[in-house]
């Protein structure tokens, strides 16, 4: 874990309300693993006070890491106005990354909206022949052009709620379709997105007894395990009643979480 002022290399809109920012930090970049995040201080002012968590969505040239963010409130609105020449204090990489050590299995990466961020990083380091990215959005204007983070469109399936691009419907429809026709062994699932989507993916995984890891979001104050603010209810399998998203997660096996309490 490193805390430093990082130069912004670029910060550009790549989809509606969605920005890709590259930050220069050889130290964080070399440590970063897919699923990990950084805590970004968006302003020197005490309002907004707390750092904002963002998943690392990829690296670039060995000395930069990237974040992909959607503008939803005051902090991200400040971020969008930052640019080359500005520096941001970043703390990271933080949290437990995706575990994709099991080889030879196909992975489905299931993304809902901006939840694609950590999965882009994951897709980038996986064998392209062994992973498939399923991404759902509200509408085509929101679709993140994956080539901007160096991925190919090849193993990518898109769904939009309004049908303006790809499948008309939600991303779990796509997953359902893929799993339905899947014959080459047991695939592994990796998912990130809004809670209803994660619940659906988890339900499907439990049903089919598939391994599934999800990246979850909560409000965070410290991001490093000191404040206990980021608790999520653990499943009865765990020894503790609550897990810390910033330290035990943000990536969890679906078996570690109490899905009823989420």
């Amino acid at each position: 874990m490193i805390e430093q002022e990082a130069d912004i290399v670029f910060n550009r809109m790549i989809a509606r309300n969605t920005f890709l920012m590259a930050l220069k930090s050889p130290e964080i970049t070399s440590l970063a693993r897919p699923g990990q995040f950084v805590m970004v201080r968006v302003s020197k002012s005490a309002d907004p006070l707390l750092r904002r968590p963002f998943s690392i969505c990829g690296t670039r040239g060995g000395d930069c890491f990237m974040i992909l963010y959607r503008v939803v409130g005051v902090g991200t609105a400040i971020l969008r106005n930052a640019g080359k020449g500005d520096r941001l204090s970043v703390l990271g990489p933080l949290g437990r990354p995706f575990d994709f050590s099991e080889k030879g299995k196909t992975s489905f990466l299931v993304a809902g909206g901006i939840g694609i961020a950590p999965l882009l990083f994951l897709a980038g380091v996986m064998d392209p022949g062994e992973c498939m990215l399923l991404a759902g959005y509200g509408t085509s204007a929101e679709v993140v052009p994956v080539e901007q983070v160096g991925l190919s469109q090849e193993n990518l399936l898109i769904a939009t709620d309004d049908g303006t691009l790809g499948h008309k419907g939600v991303v779990t429809d796509l997953l359902e379709g893929q799993l339905g026709k899947w014959r080459r062994g047991r695939p592994v699932l990796f998912a990130c997105g809004p809670l209803p989507m994660l619940k659906r993916v988890a339900a499907m995984s439990f049903e089919r007894e598939l391994e599934c890891q999800v990246s979850v979001e909560t409000a965070m104050a410290c991001g490093i395990g000191a404040c206990q603010g980021c608790a999520v209810r653990a499943s009865s399998r765990e020894t503790q009643p609550y897990l810390q998203v910033c330290r035990h997660g943000p990536v969890f096996s679906i078996r570690s979480l109490d899905w009823k309490a989420l």
């Binding site: 805390e3 907004p48 006070l49 000191a226 404040c227 608790a231 609550y242």
Partner: protein
């Protein structure tokens, strides 16, 4: 001490601190996480997360929410309990070259005493800090710390059982902080720290629900600094005990306000989340300030407020 390096050493009763900057309880864990980015040996000390007799899971989430220049937390004093602390955390803490203070609490007077007793003989602990802000189950849920008598009873009980100096940490949610401080002084406390968080609340207007599962929480951060400073100012003038100032300190100038008002030391809480290097920057800032003002001993600053 080299010629031009000011002496930042302060004393809280019998405890000597290398400098007056401590980590506040609940905001620094047991120091482990921050050890990666902060040289802990340079701190005045660490007050560890509130410790109870038995492990406590804490409150259901959401537990925190940001507010203007502050945050509300309703962690619910989640902690591992006395036994695991002694076995798992203390050995590591002991190796640190810094003062360790253990923040303790109980749900009744007895329980406070039992935690203090459990820490008897434990090496590597410089003092206990007694958190009297948790609900007093014996008296209908108001915090012990809102009642001078209850605060005094807790203090006496802890003193009876403890073999270490006892600092009592006061809650600001009271009409007259001085009367609580004086009661704690009469009960024999060795020091007082203040303030704990102010009670507050936030509502999600779309969903029309409280933003914290616990409904209310404790407000911390720069928003509360003026309140904390005024309470420290009042308590310093009402008791003869050393006072530790806490609340909204973000930089060395904030820390100076508390020292000038008469605090012997300060604690940094929420600021650690914003900038993990805050405490080190404060220590450096205090050194610079002393040097610039020709002050060789930080104690010259403490309580140096001019009033007419």
């Amino acid at each position: 001490m080299t010629g031009d390096r000011p002496d930042l050493t302060v004393n809280i009763g019998s405890i000597e601190l290398n400098n007056p900057v401590l980590a506040a309880s609940g905001t620094f864990g047991y120091g482990e996480q921050y050890a990666e980015v902060v040289d802990l040996s340079r701190l005045g000390g660490i007050v560890v997360k509130g410790l109870s007799l038995r492990p406590r899971p804490g409150n259901p989430p959401p537990r925190i929410v940001e507010t203007p220049c502050g945050m509300l937390n309703a962690i619910g004093l989640a902690n591992m309990g006395l036994e695991e602390f002694l076995n798992e955390k203390l050995p590591w803490l002991r190796k640190l070259d810094t003062v360790v203070i253990v923040n303790i609490y109980g749900h009744n007077v007895e329980e406070y005493g039992m935690v203090a007793e459990g820490l008897r003989g434990a090496e590597g602990i410089s003092a206990l800090e007694v958190n009297v802000s948790c609900p007093n189950v014996e008296q209908g849920g108001m915090a012990f710390g809102t009642d001078p008598d209850a605060s005094a009873r807790v203090t006496e009980q802890v003193l009876k059982k403890a073999d270490k100096p006892v600092i009592v940490k006061l809650t600001p949610n009271v009409t007259d902080i001085r009367s609580v401080a004086q009661a704690v002084e009469r009960a024999g406390a060795h020091g007082i720290s203040l303030i704990n968080t102010l009670s507050g609340m936030a509502i999600d207007v779309e969903k029309r629900v409280p933003r914290l599962a616990n409904v209310s929480g404790g407000l911390s951060g720069p928003a509360i600094r003026p309140v904390a400073l005024y309470m420290v100012y009042q308590v310093v003038r009402a008791v003869n005990l050393p006072v530790i100032g806490v609340g909204g300190i973000m930089n060395y100038r904030d820390a100076l306000e508390f020292l000038i008002a008469g605090a012997r030391a300060v604690q940094v809480g929420t600021a650690n989340f914003v900038n993990p290097s805050t405490m080190l920057e404060i220590i450096e800032g205090l050194e610079r300030f002393c040097r610039a003002q020709g002050i060789i001993d930080i104690n010259e600053i403490i309580g140096s407020l001019k009033e007419d």
